[in-house]
Protein backbone atom coordinates (compact mmCIF):
# COMPACT_ATOMS: atom_id res chain seq x y z
CA UNK A 1 0.00 0.00 0.00
CA UNK A 2 1.31 3.44 -0.88
CA UNK A 3 1.94 5.61 2.10
CA UNK A 4 -0.83 8.19 2.31
CA UNK A 5 1.46 11.22 2.01
CA UNK A 6 2.75 9.97 -1.33
CA UNK A 7 -0.64 9.66 -2.96
CA UNK A 8 -1.40 12.33 -5.51
CA UNK A 9 -5.08 12.78 -4.62
CA UNK A 10 -4.27 13.05 -0.96
CA UNK A 11 -1.59 15.65 -1.54
CA UNK A 12 -3.93 17.70 -3.73
CA UNK A 13 -6.65 17.72 -1.14
CA UNK A 14 -4.21 18.48 1.62
CA UNK A 15 -2.84 21.42 -0.37
CA UNK A 16 -6.30 22.76 -0.97
CA UNK A 17 -7.23 22.34 2.66
CA UNK A 18 -4.17 24.36 3.68
CA UNK A 19 -4.98 27.18 1.25
CA UNK A 20 -8.57 27.19 2.42
CA UNK A 21 -7.46 27.23 6.04
CA UNK A 22 -5.19 30.21 5.39
CA UNK A 23 -7.94 32.14 3.63
CA UNK A 24 -10.53 31.33 6.26
CA UNK A 25 -8.00 32.07 8.98
CA UNK A 26 -7.31 35.49 7.50
CA UNK A 27 -11.01 36.23 7.23
CA UNK A 28 -11.60 35.15 10.81
CA UNK A 29 -8.71 37.31 11.96
CA UNK A 30 -10.10 40.28 10.04
CA UNK A 31 -13.54 39.62 11.49
CA UNK A 32 -12.18 39.45 15.00
CA UNK A 33 -10.19 42.67 14.62
CA UNK A 34 -13.19 44.33 13.06
CA UNK A 35 -15.31 43.27 16.01
CA UNK A 36 -12.74 44.74 18.43
CA UNK A 37 -12.50 47.97 16.47
CA UNK A 38 -16.26 48.38 16.31
CA UNK A 39 -16.55 47.74 20.05
CA UNK A 40 -13.96 50.43 20.62
CA UNK A 41 -15.93 52.82 18.44
CA UNK A 42 -19.15 51.83 20.18
CA UNK A 43 -20.79 50.69 16.94
CA UNK A 44 -22.85 47.59 16.32
CA UNK A 45 -23.30 46.11 12.90
CA UNK A 46 -26.77 46.33 11.43
CA UNK A 47 -28.80 48.07 8.80
CA UNK A 48 -31.39 49.63 11.16
CA UNK A 49 -29.79 53.06 10.74
CA UNK A 50 -31.08 53.08 7.19
CA UNK A 51 -34.53 53.88 8.55
CA UNK A 52 -33.43 56.97 10.45
CA UNK A 53 -33.63 60.47 9.07
CA UNK A 54 -30.92 61.36 6.57
CA UNK A 55 -30.97 65.06 7.29
CA UNK A 56 -28.96 66.21 4.32
CA UNK A 57 -30.28 67.62 1.09
CA UNK A 58 -29.42 66.41 -2.39
CA UNK A 59 -28.94 68.76 -5.31
CA UNK A 60 -30.86 66.69 -7.83
CA UNK A 61 -33.14 63.71 -7.77
CA UNK A 62 -35.44 61.84 -10.11
CA UNK A 63 -37.86 60.94 -7.34
CA UNK A 64 -39.25 63.34 -4.73
CA UNK A 65 -36.89 63.65 -1.78
CA UNK A 66 -36.43 65.94 1.20
CA UNK A 67 -33.93 65.77 4.08
CA UNK A 68 -36.55 64.55 6.54
CA UNK A 69 -36.68 61.25 4.71
CA UNK A 70 -34.61 58.18 5.57
CA UNK A 71 -31.12 57.06 4.58
CA UNK A 72 -32.59 54.27 2.50
CA UNK A 73 -34.55 56.85 0.52
CA UNK A 74 -31.52 59.04 -0.10
CA UNK A 75 -29.48 56.01 -1.16
CA UNK A 76 -32.22 55.13 -3.60
CA UNK A 77 -31.98 58.69 -4.93
CA UNK A 78 -28.25 58.15 -5.44
CA UNK A 79 -28.77 54.81 -7.10
CA UNK A 80 -31.29 56.25 -9.55
CA UNK A 81 -28.96 59.16 -10.29
CA UNK A 82 -26.22 56.61 -11.04
CA UNK A 83 -28.48 54.68 -13.38
CA UNK A 84 -29.48 57.90 -15.11
CA UNK A 85 -25.92 58.91 -15.89
CA UNK A 86 -24.80 55.37 -16.71
CA UNK A 87 -27.49 54.67 -19.27
CA UNK A 88 -27.46 58.08 -20.90
CA UNK A 89 -23.67 58.16 -21.31
CA UNK A 90 -23.63 54.53 -22.37
CA UNK A 91 -25.93 55.39 -25.26
CA UNK A 92 -24.07 58.54 -26.21
CA UNK A 93 -20.65 56.89 -25.92
CA UNK A 94 -21.78 54.13 -28.24
CA UNK A 95 -22.90 56.64 -30.86
CA UNK A 96 -19.74 58.72 -30.59
CA UNK A 97 -17.54 55.65 -30.52
CA UNK A 98 -19.13 54.13 -33.61
CA UNK A 99 -18.92 57.42 -35.48
CA UNK A 100 -15.30 58.00 -34.49
CA UNK A 101 -14.36 54.40 -35.21
CA UNK A 102 -15.80 54.58 -38.71
CA UNK A 103 -14.30 58.03 -39.17
CA UNK A 104 -10.86 56.60 -38.49
CA UNK A 105 -11.29 54.45 -41.59
CA UNK A 106 -12.77 57.21 -43.74
CA UNK A 107 -11.20 58.02 -47.08
CA UNK A 108 -11.45 61.71 -46.14
CA UNK A 109 -8.07 62.72 -44.75
CA UNK A 110 -9.37 65.48 -42.46
CA UNK A 111 -12.06 63.26 -40.96
CA UNK A 112 -9.53 60.53 -40.35
CA UNK A 113 -7.05 62.87 -38.66
CA UNK A 114 -9.66 64.50 -36.45
CA UNK A 115 -10.93 61.15 -35.27
CA UNK A 116 -7.37 60.05 -34.58
CA UNK A 117 -6.55 63.16 -32.58
CA UNK A 118 -9.75 62.76 -30.57
CA UNK A 119 -9.03 59.12 -29.73
CA UNK A 120 -5.33 59.50 -28.96
CA UNK A 121 -5.81 62.68 -26.95
CA UNK A 122 -8.64 61.63 -24.67
CA UNK A 123 -7.90 57.99 -23.98
CA UNK A 124 -4.44 58.86 -22.70
CA UNK A 125 -5.74 61.26 -20.07
CA UNK A 126 -7.12 60.25 -16.67
CA UNK A 127 -10.91 60.33 -16.63
CA UNK A 128 -10.90 62.16 -13.31
CA UNK A 129 -8.87 64.97 -14.84
CA UNK A 130 -11.26 65.15 -17.76
CA UNK A 131 -14.22 65.41 -15.41
CA UNK A 132 -12.56 68.23 -13.49
CA UNK A 133 -11.83 69.90 -16.78
CA UNK A 134 -15.40 69.63 -18.07
CA UNK A 135 -16.78 70.93 -14.81
CA UNK A 136 -14.40 73.69 -13.77
CA UNK A 137 -13.01 74.78 -17.11
CA UNK A 138 -15.91 74.25 -19.48
CA UNK A 139 -19.25 74.43 -17.71
CA UNK A 140 -18.45 76.83 -14.89
CA UNK A 141 -16.79 79.20 -17.37
CA UNK A 142 -19.75 79.31 -19.71
CA UNK A 143 -22.09 82.33 -19.90
CA UNK A 144 -25.00 82.59 -17.44
CA UNK A 145 -28.28 80.87 -18.29
CA UNK A 146 -29.96 84.00 -19.66
CA UNK A 147 -27.05 84.32 -22.09
CA UNK A 148 -26.82 80.66 -23.05
CA UNK A 149 -25.08 79.38 -26.16
CA UNK A 150 -27.84 78.03 -28.37
CA UNK A 151 -27.49 75.22 -30.87
CA UNK A 152 -31.08 74.98 -32.09
CA UNK A 153 -32.93 72.90 -29.51
CA UNK A 154 -29.97 72.70 -27.12
CA UNK A 155 -28.97 75.57 -24.85
CA UNK A 156 -25.67 75.30 -23.03
CA UNK A 157 -24.77 77.56 -20.13
CA UNK A 158 -23.21 77.71 -16.68
CA UNK A 159 -26.33 76.08 -15.26
CA UNK A 160 -25.93 73.06 -17.49
CA UNK A 161 -27.64 71.82 -20.59
CA UNK A 162 -31.19 72.56 -21.62
CA UNK A 163 -32.41 69.93 -24.03
CA UNK A 164 -35.97 70.49 -25.35
CA UNK A 165 -36.82 72.12 -22.02
CA UNK A 166 -35.23 69.22 -20.11
CA UNK A 167 -32.81 70.94 -17.71
CA UNK A 168 -29.61 69.06 -16.92
CA UNK A 169 -27.40 70.32 -14.11
CA UNK A 170 -23.78 71.31 -14.83
CA UNK A 171 -22.67 68.42 -12.58
CA UNK A 172 -24.67 65.90 -14.55
CA UNK A 173 -23.64 67.48 -17.84
CA UNK A 174 -19.94 67.36 -16.96
CA UNK A 175 -20.11 63.76 -15.81
CA UNK A 176 -22.13 62.84 -18.86
CA UNK A 177 -19.70 64.59 -21.22
CA UNK A 178 -16.64 63.17 -19.49
CA UNK A 179 -17.87 59.57 -19.43
CA UNK A 180 -19.17 59.80 -22.98
CA UNK A 181 -16.08 61.22 -24.61
CA UNK A 182 -13.69 59.07 -22.59
CA UNK A 183 -15.52 55.78 -23.18
CA UNK A 184 -16.14 56.84 -26.79
CA UNK A 185 -12.40 56.63 -27.51
CA UNK A 186 -12.24 53.02 -26.39
CA UNK A 187 -15.38 52.11 -28.30
CA UNK A 188 -13.92 53.80 -31.38
CA UNK A 189 -10.85 51.58 -31.19
CA UNK A 190 -13.01 48.50 -30.81
CA UNK A 191 -15.19 49.48 -33.76
CA UNK A 192 -12.20 50.25 -35.93
CA UNK A 193 -10.52 46.95 -35.02
CA UNK A 194 -13.63 44.89 -35.71
CA UNK A 195 -14.35 46.55 -39.03
CA UNK A 196 -10.78 46.05 -40.14
CA UNK A 197 -11.09 42.45 -38.97
CA UNK A 198 -13.93 41.72 -41.38
CA UNK A 199 -12.61 39.99 -44.45
CA UNK A 200 -11.71 42.38 -47.27
CA UNK A 201 -13.31 39.98 -49.71
CA UNK A 202 -16.67 40.75 -48.10
CA UNK A 203 -16.56 44.41 -48.99
CA UNK A 204 -15.14 43.70 -52.43
CA UNK A 205 -17.95 41.23 -53.09
CA UNK A 206 -20.55 43.73 -51.95
CA UNK A 207 -19.09 46.51 -54.06
CA UNK A 208 -18.95 44.15 -57.03
CA UNK A 209 -22.69 43.57 -56.61
CA UNK A 210 -23.11 47.28 -57.15
CA UNK A 211 -23.87 48.25 -53.54
CA UNK A 212 -22.74 51.73 -52.57
CA UNK A 213 -20.00 52.26 -49.97
CA UNK A 214 -22.57 53.36 -47.38
CA UNK A 215 -24.85 50.38 -47.93
CA UNK A 216 -21.88 48.02 -47.92
CA UNK A 217 -20.82 49.36 -44.55
CA UNK A 218 -24.32 49.35 -43.04
CA UNK A 219 -25.66 46.09 -44.39
CA UNK A 220 -22.59 43.92 -44.96
CA UNK A 221 -19.57 44.99 -42.92
CA UNK A 222 -21.05 46.41 -39.76
CA UNK A 223 -23.37 43.48 -38.89
CA UNK A 224 -20.43 41.11 -39.15
CA UNK A 225 -18.11 43.38 -37.18
CA UNK A 226 -20.75 43.69 -34.48
CA UNK A 227 -20.33 40.05 -33.58
CA UNK A 228 -16.66 40.39 -32.70
CA UNK A 229 -17.30 43.73 -31.02
CA UNK A 230 -19.76 42.62 -28.42
CA UNK A 231 -17.50 41.09 -25.76
CA UNK A 232 -15.18 44.12 -25.81
CA UNK A 233 -18.16 46.49 -25.84
CA UNK A 234 -19.56 44.75 -22.79
CA UNK A 235 -16.26 45.38 -21.06
CA UNK A 236 -16.40 49.08 -21.88
CA UNK A 237 -19.98 49.36 -20.63
CA UNK A 238 -18.89 47.75 -17.38
CA UNK A 239 -16.00 50.18 -17.13
CA UNK A 240 -18.33 53.08 -17.76
CA UNK A 241 -20.70 51.94 -15.03
CA UNK A 242 -17.83 51.65 -12.57
CA UNK A 243 -16.28 54.94 -13.68
CA UNK A 244 -19.54 56.77 -13.05
CA UNK A 245 -18.57 56.59 -9.38
CA UNK A 246 -16.10 59.42 -10.01
CA UNK A 247 -19.16 61.69 -9.81
CA UNK A 248 -18.13 62.60 -6.27
CA UNK A 249 -15.21 64.64 -7.61
CA UNK A 250 -17.56 67.17 -9.19
CA UNK A 251 -20.42 66.94 -6.74
CA UNK A 252 -22.94 64.92 -8.72
CA UNK A 253 -25.00 62.96 -6.16
CA UNK A 254 -24.58 59.40 -7.44
CA UNK A 255 -24.73 56.28 -5.33
CA UNK A 256 -21.10 56.44 -4.27
CA UNK A 257 -21.21 60.13 -3.38
CA UNK A 258 -24.33 59.69 -1.26
CA UNK A 259 -22.92 56.56 0.37
CA UNK A 260 -19.82 58.54 1.21
CA UNK A 261 -21.88 61.31 2.83
CA UNK A 262 -23.90 58.70 4.70
CA UNK A 263 -20.68 57.12 5.94
CA UNK A 264 -19.33 60.48 7.09
CA UNK A 265 -22.53 61.13 9.07
CA UNK A 266 -22.99 57.68 10.57
CA UNK A 267 -19.53 56.10 10.60
CA UNK A 268 -21.07 52.92 9.21
CA UNK A 269 -18.09 51.78 7.14
CA UNK A 270 -18.90 48.07 6.95
CA UNK A 271 -22.55 48.47 6.10
CA UNK A 272 -21.88 51.08 3.44
CA UNK A 273 -19.13 48.95 1.97
CA UNK A 274 -21.47 45.99 1.73
CA UNK A 275 -24.21 48.11 0.15
CA UNK A 276 -21.89 49.68 -2.41
CA UNK A 277 -20.35 46.35 -3.33
CA UNK A 278 -23.67 44.59 -3.76
CA UNK A 279 -25.07 47.41 -5.87
CA UNK A 280 -22.13 47.74 -8.22
CA UNK A 281 -21.78 43.99 -8.55
CA UNK A 282 -25.48 43.77 -9.41
CA UNK A 283 -25.19 46.51 -12.02
CA UNK A 284 -22.06 44.86 -13.47
CA UNK A 285 -23.67 41.45 -13.58
CA UNK A 286 -26.84 42.85 -15.14
CA UNK A 287 -24.95 44.53 -17.96
CA UNK A 288 -22.84 41.43 -18.48
CA UNK A 289 -25.92 39.24 -18.45
CA UNK A 290 -27.86 41.39 -20.91
CA UNK A 291 -24.97 41.43 -23.35
CA UNK A 292 -24.39 37.71 -22.99
CA UNK A 293 -28.03 37.03 -23.74
CA UNK A 294 -27.90 39.33 -26.76
CA UNK A 295 -24.67 37.73 -27.86
CA UNK A 296 -25.93 34.17 -27.70
CA UNK A 297 -29.10 35.16 -29.58
CA UNK A 298 -26.97 36.72 -32.32
CA UNK A 299 -24.70 33.69 -32.52
CA UNK A 300 -27.70 31.42 -32.85
CA UNK A 301 -29.33 33.46 -35.58
CA UNK A 302 -26.10 33.54 -37.55
CA UNK A 303 -25.58 29.82 -37.48
Amino acid sequence: MTAIWRRKKYLEWAGQAIVLAIVVGLLVMFGHNLDQSLKRLGLRLGFKFLDSQAGFSVAESIIPYDPSQSYSRVLLVGFLNSLKVIFSSLTAATIIGVVAGIARLSDNWLVRQMAKVYVEALRNLPLLLQLLFWYFVVFLALPKADNAISLGFIQISRSGINLFGLALSPEFSSLFAGLTFYTGTFIAEIVRGSIKGVDRGQSEAARALGLSAGVTLRRVIFPQALRTMIPSLANQYLNLAKNSSLAIAIGYPDLYAISSTTFNQTGRAVEMMILISITYLTVSLTIAGLLNAYNSRMQRSLR
Binding site: T2, R6, R7, K8, K9, Y10, L11
Partner: protein
Protein backbone atom coordinates in the same frame (compact mmCIF):
# COMPACT_ATOMS: atom_id res chain seq x y z
CA UNK B 1 26.74 7.11 -24.15
CA UNK B 2 27.76 3.52 -24.64
CA UNK B 3 26.35 2.62 -21.26
CA UNK B 4 22.76 3.05 -22.54
CA UNK B 5 23.44 0.29 -24.96
CA UNK B 6 25.03 -1.87 -22.33
CA UNK B 7 22.17 -1.58 -19.87
CA UNK B 8 19.75 -2.26 -22.66
CA UNK B 9 21.64 -5.42 -23.58
CA UNK B 10 21.69 -6.55 -19.98
CA UNK B 11 17.97 -6.25 -19.89
CA UNK B 12 17.60 -8.34 -23.00
CA UNK B 13 19.42 -11.08 -21.21
CA UNK B 14 17.08 -10.88 -18.24
CA UNK B 15 14.21 -11.15 -20.72
CA UNK B 16 11.58 -9.96 -18.28
CA UNK B 17 8.66 -7.80 -19.45
CA UNK B 18 9.73 -4.24 -18.75
CA UNK B 19 6.25 -2.86 -19.37
CA UNK B 20 3.08 -4.59 -18.28
CA UNK B 21 -0.37 -3.15 -18.89
CA UNK B 22 -3.10 -5.35 -17.54
CA UNK B 23 -6.81 -4.76 -18.24
CA UNK B 24 -6.39 -1.00 -18.41
CA UNK B 25 -9.64 0.99 -18.67
CA UNK B 26 -10.05 4.70 -18.94
CA UNK B 27 -12.96 7.07 -19.30
CA UNK B 28 -13.16 10.66 -20.53
CA UNK B 29 -16.27 11.64 -18.63
CA UNK B 30 -18.88 9.08 -19.71
CA UNK B 31 -16.95 8.02 -22.80
CA UNK B 32 -14.81 4.90 -22.37
CA UNK B 33 -11.57 5.27 -24.35
CA UNK B 34 -9.73 2.18 -23.13
CA UNK B 35 -11.51 -1.13 -22.51
CA UNK B 36 -9.41 -3.67 -20.64
CA UNK B 37 -6.42 -3.03 -22.85
CA UNK B 38 -3.53 -5.47 -22.38
CA UNK B 39 0.10 -5.24 -23.43
CA UNK B 40 3.48 -6.65 -22.39
CA UNK B 41 6.78 -5.42 -23.74
CA UNK B 42 10.09 -7.09 -23.07
CA UNK B 43 13.30 -5.16 -22.74
CA UNK B 44 14.84 -4.44 -26.11
CA UNK B 45 11.63 -5.12 -28.00
CA UNK B 46 10.25 -2.79 -30.63
CA UNK B 47 6.45 -2.81 -30.66
CA UNK B 48 4.42 -0.95 -33.24
CA UNK B 49 0.84 0.01 -32.39
CA UNK B 50 -1.62 0.44 -35.23
CA UNK B 51 -5.31 1.10 -35.41
CA UNK B 52 -7.93 3.39 -36.85
CA UNK B 53 -8.17 7.01 -35.81
CA UNK B 54 -9.84 7.46 -32.44
CA UNK B 55 -9.15 3.88 -31.38
CA UNK B 56 -7.24 5.07 -28.30
CA UNK B 57 -3.62 4.48 -29.38
CA UNK B 58 -2.37 7.85 -28.17
CA UNK B 59 -4.33 7.63 -24.97
CA UNK B 60 -2.97 4.15 -24.31
CA UNK B 61 0.70 5.04 -24.64
CA UNK B 62 0.20 8.31 -22.79
CA UNK B 63 -0.94 6.34 -19.74
CA UNK B 64 2.53 4.73 -19.65
CA UNK B 65 4.20 7.94 -18.51
CA UNK B 66 1.23 9.20 -16.52
CA UNK B 67 0.32 11.97 -18.94
CA UNK B 68 -3.15 10.42 -18.77
CA UNK B 69 -4.45 8.86 -15.58
CA UNK B 70 -6.34 5.58 -15.89
CA UNK B 71 -9.18 4.34 -13.76
CA UNK B 72 -9.00 0.54 -13.82
CA UNK B 73 -6.37 -2.12 -14.33
CA UNK B 74 -2.70 -1.91 -13.56
CA UNK B 75 0.46 -0.75 -15.24
CA UNK B 76 3.96 -1.74 -14.13
CA UNK B 77 7.07 -0.29 -15.65
CA UNK B 78 10.45 -1.81 -14.89
CA UNK B 79 8.93 -3.34 -11.78
CA UNK B 80 7.47 -0.07 -10.54
CA UNK B 81 3.67 0.02 -10.31
CA UNK B 82 2.21 3.15 -11.86
CA UNK B 83 -0.23 4.22 -9.19
CA UNK B 84 -1.21 7.43 -7.44
CA UNK B 85 2.17 7.31 -5.71
CA UNK B 86 3.94 10.48 -6.75
CA UNK B 87 7.42 9.05 -6.18
CA UNK B 88 6.61 6.20 -8.53
CA UNK B 89 5.21 8.64 -11.08
CA UNK B 90 8.39 10.72 -10.93
CA UNK B 91 10.58 7.64 -11.31
CA UNK B 92 8.53 6.32 -14.24
CA UNK B 93 8.61 9.66 -16.03
CA UNK B 94 12.40 9.55 -15.85
CA UNK B 95 12.50 6.00 -17.14
CA UNK B 96 10.09 6.59 -20.02
CA UNK B 97 10.93 9.03 -22.79
CA UNK B 98 8.33 10.35 -25.18
CA UNK B 99 8.36 11.78 -28.69
CA UNK B 100 5.26 13.61 -29.87
CA UNK B 101 3.63 14.06 -33.23
CA UNK B 102 4.01 17.86 -32.97
CA UNK B 103 7.65 17.66 -31.68
CA UNK B 104 6.77 20.01 -28.78
CA UNK B 105 10.24 21.51 -28.65
CA UNK B 106 10.61 24.50 -26.35
CA UNK B 107 10.72 27.46 -28.75
CA UNK B 108 12.36 29.86 -26.30
CA UNK B 109 15.38 27.59 -25.74
CA UNK B 110 18.15 26.71 -28.18
CA UNK B 111 18.46 23.17 -29.48
CA UNK B 112 21.24 22.52 -27.01
CA UNK B 113 19.23 23.97 -24.11
CA UNK B 114 16.25 21.86 -25.11
CA UNK B 115 18.38 18.78 -24.70
CA UNK B 116 20.23 19.80 -21.54
CA UNK B 117 17.32 21.23 -19.52
CA UNK B 118 16.06 17.96 -18.05
CA UNK B 119 19.49 16.42 -17.36
CA UNK B 120 20.48 19.56 -15.45
CA UNK B 121 17.23 20.11 -13.58
CA UNK B 122 16.11 16.53 -13.01
CA UNK B 123 19.26 14.41 -13.03
CA UNK B 124 21.29 17.21 -11.42
CA UNK B 125 24.11 17.04 -13.94
CA UNK B 126 26.51 19.95 -14.12
CA UNK B 127 26.21 22.12 -17.16
CA UNK B 128 29.45 20.84 -18.79
CA UNK B 129 28.40 17.23 -18.19
CA UNK B 130 24.95 17.87 -19.68
CA UNK B 131 26.43 19.71 -22.65
CA UNK B 132 28.79 16.84 -23.31
CA UNK B 133 25.96 14.29 -23.33
CA UNK B 134 23.79 16.58 -25.45
CA UNK B 135 26.51 17.03 -28.04
CA UNK B 136 27.00 13.28 -28.34
CA UNK B 137 23.29 12.77 -28.79
CA UNK B 138 22.88 15.58 -31.29
CA UNK B 139 25.77 14.11 -33.21
CA UNK B 140 24.10 10.73 -33.14
CA UNK B 141 20.87 12.13 -34.63
CA UNK B 142 22.93 14.16 -37.11
CA UNK B 143 22.26 17.77 -36.13
CA UNK B 144 25.20 18.76 -33.99
CA UNK B 145 25.88 21.80 -36.17
CA UNK B 146 22.41 23.23 -35.32
CA UNK B 147 23.02 23.11 -31.57
CA UNK B 148 22.97 26.88 -31.04
CA UNK B 149 19.89 27.57 -33.17
CA UNK B 150 16.34 27.99 -31.98
CA UNK B 151 13.88 25.24 -32.95
CA UNK B 152 11.83 27.63 -35.07
CA UNK B 153 14.74 27.85 -37.51
CA UNK B 154 14.84 24.08 -38.11
CA UNK B 155 12.92 21.93 -40.56
CA UNK B 156 10.29 19.52 -39.23
CA UNK B 157 12.54 16.52 -39.64
CA UNK B 158 15.36 18.23 -37.80
CA UNK B 159 13.01 19.29 -35.02
CA UNK B 160 11.79 15.76 -34.55
CA UNK B 161 15.35 14.49 -34.36
CA UNK B 162 16.09 17.09 -31.68
CA UNK B 163 13.01 15.85 -29.83
CA UNK B 164 14.39 12.32 -29.94
CA UNK B 165 17.77 13.49 -28.67
CA UNK B 166 16.02 15.46 -25.92
CA UNK B 167 14.18 12.36 -24.72
CA UNK B 168 17.31 10.21 -24.94
CA UNK B 169 19.26 12.65 -22.78
CA UNK B 170 17.34 11.35 -19.78
CA UNK B 171 18.69 7.86 -20.59
CA UNK B 172 15.23 6.33 -20.58
CA UNK B 173 14.59 2.60 -20.42
CA UNK B 174 11.62 2.84 -22.76
CA UNK B 175 10.88 5.27 -25.57
CA UNK B 176 7.33 6.07 -26.59
CA UNK B 177 6.66 7.51 -30.06
CA UNK B 178 3.23 8.91 -30.90
CA UNK B 179 3.02 9.17 -34.70
CA UNK B 180 6.48 10.75 -34.91
CA UNK B 181 6.37 11.18 -38.68
CA UNK B 182 2.72 12.11 -39.23
CA UNK B 183 3.19 15.84 -39.35
CA UNK B 184 6.33 15.75 -41.48
CA UNK B 185 6.65 16.47 -45.16
CA UNK B 186 7.25 13.21 -47.06
CA UNK B 187 10.89 13.97 -47.83
CA UNK B 188 11.68 14.30 -44.13
CA UNK B 189 10.03 11.11 -42.97
CA UNK B 190 13.04 9.03 -43.87
CA UNK B 191 15.62 10.91 -41.84
CA UNK B 192 13.50 10.49 -38.72
CA UNK B 193 12.79 6.80 -39.40
CA UNK B 194 16.53 6.24 -39.94
CA UNK B 195 17.26 7.62 -36.51
CA UNK B 196 14.56 5.42 -34.99
CA UNK B 197 15.90 2.40 -36.84
CA UNK B 198 19.40 2.86 -35.48
CA UNK B 199 17.95 3.44 -32.03
CA UNK B 200 16.14 0.11 -32.31
CA UNK B 201 19.37 -1.58 -33.41
CA UNK B 202 21.13 -0.24 -30.33
CA UNK B 203 18.71 -2.26 -28.24
CA UNK B 204 16.33 0.44 -27.01
CA UNK B 205 12.89 -0.70 -25.93
CA UNK B 206 10.47 1.16 -28.17
CA UNK B 207 6.72 1.53 -28.36
CA UNK B 208 5.75 3.25 -31.59
CA UNK B 209 2.34 4.40 -32.78
CA UNK B 210 2.73 4.77 -36.52
CA UNK B 211 1.16 4.05 -39.88
CA UNK B 212 4.55 3.48 -41.54
CA UNK B 213 4.11 -0.09 -42.76
CA UNK B 214 7.68 -0.32 -44.07
CA UNK B 215 9.10 0.62 -40.70
CA UNK B 216 6.84 -1.83 -38.91
CA UNK B 217 7.75 -4.71 -41.25
CA UNK B 218 11.45 -4.09 -41.04
CA UNK B 219 12.06 -2.97 -37.47
CA UNK B 220 9.19 -4.15 -35.28
CA UNK B 221 9.33 -7.35 -33.28
CA UNK B 222 5.57 -7.23 -32.83
CA UNK B 223 2.60 -5.34 -34.15
CA UNK B 224 -0.29 -4.56 -31.83
CA UNK B 225 -3.61 -3.67 -33.38
CA UNK B 226 -6.07 -1.57 -31.40
CA UNK B 227 -9.68 -0.81 -32.09
CA UNK B 228 -12.32 0.87 -29.93
CA UNK B 229 -10.04 1.02 -26.92
CA UNK B 230 -9.06 -2.65 -27.01
CA UNK B 231 -5.95 -4.53 -28.09
CA UNK B 232 -7.47 -7.01 -30.47
CA UNK B 233 -4.42 -8.45 -32.18
CA UNK B 234 -0.84 -8.87 -30.98
CA UNK B 235 1.45 -10.71 -33.35
CA UNK B 236 4.57 -10.57 -35.55
CA UNK B 237 4.67 -8.07 -38.40
CA UNK B 238 4.95 -10.83 -40.97
CA UNK B 239 1.77 -12.44 -39.75
CA UNK B 240 -0.11 -9.19 -39.20
CA UNK B 241 0.49 -7.88 -42.70
CA UNK B 242 -0.01 -11.15 -44.56
CA UNK B 243 -2.67 -13.05 -42.63
CA UNK B 244 -4.43 -10.90 -40.03
CA UNK B 245 -6.81 -12.89 -37.86
CA UNK B 246 -9.44 -10.32 -37.00
CA UNK B 247 -11.97 -8.89 -39.43
CA UNK B 248 -11.28 -5.35 -38.18
CA UNK B 249 -7.56 -5.76 -38.79
CA UNK B 250 -8.30 -6.89 -42.34
CA UNK B 251 -10.53 -3.91 -42.95
CA UNK B 252 -7.90 -1.56 -41.54
CA UNK B 253 -5.13 -3.07 -43.64
CA UNK B 254 -7.21 -2.89 -46.77
CA UNK B 255 -7.50 0.82 -46.15
CA UNK B 256 -3.85 1.63 -45.51
CA UNK B 257 -2.01 -0.78 -47.81
Amino acid sequence: MTNTIETAENEIIENQPILIAHDVSKWFGKFQVLRNANLQVKAGEVVVIMGPSGSGKSTFIRTFNALEPYQEGRITIDGIPLTEDIQNIDQIRRDVGMVFQQFNLFPHLTVLENVTLAPIQVRKFTKPQANEIARQLLDRVGILEQAQKYPGKLSGGQQQRVAIARALAMEPKIMLFDEPTSSLDPEMVREVLDVMRSLAKSGMTMLVVTHEVGFAREVADRVVFMDAGQVIEDTTPAEFFTQPKEARSKLFLSQIL
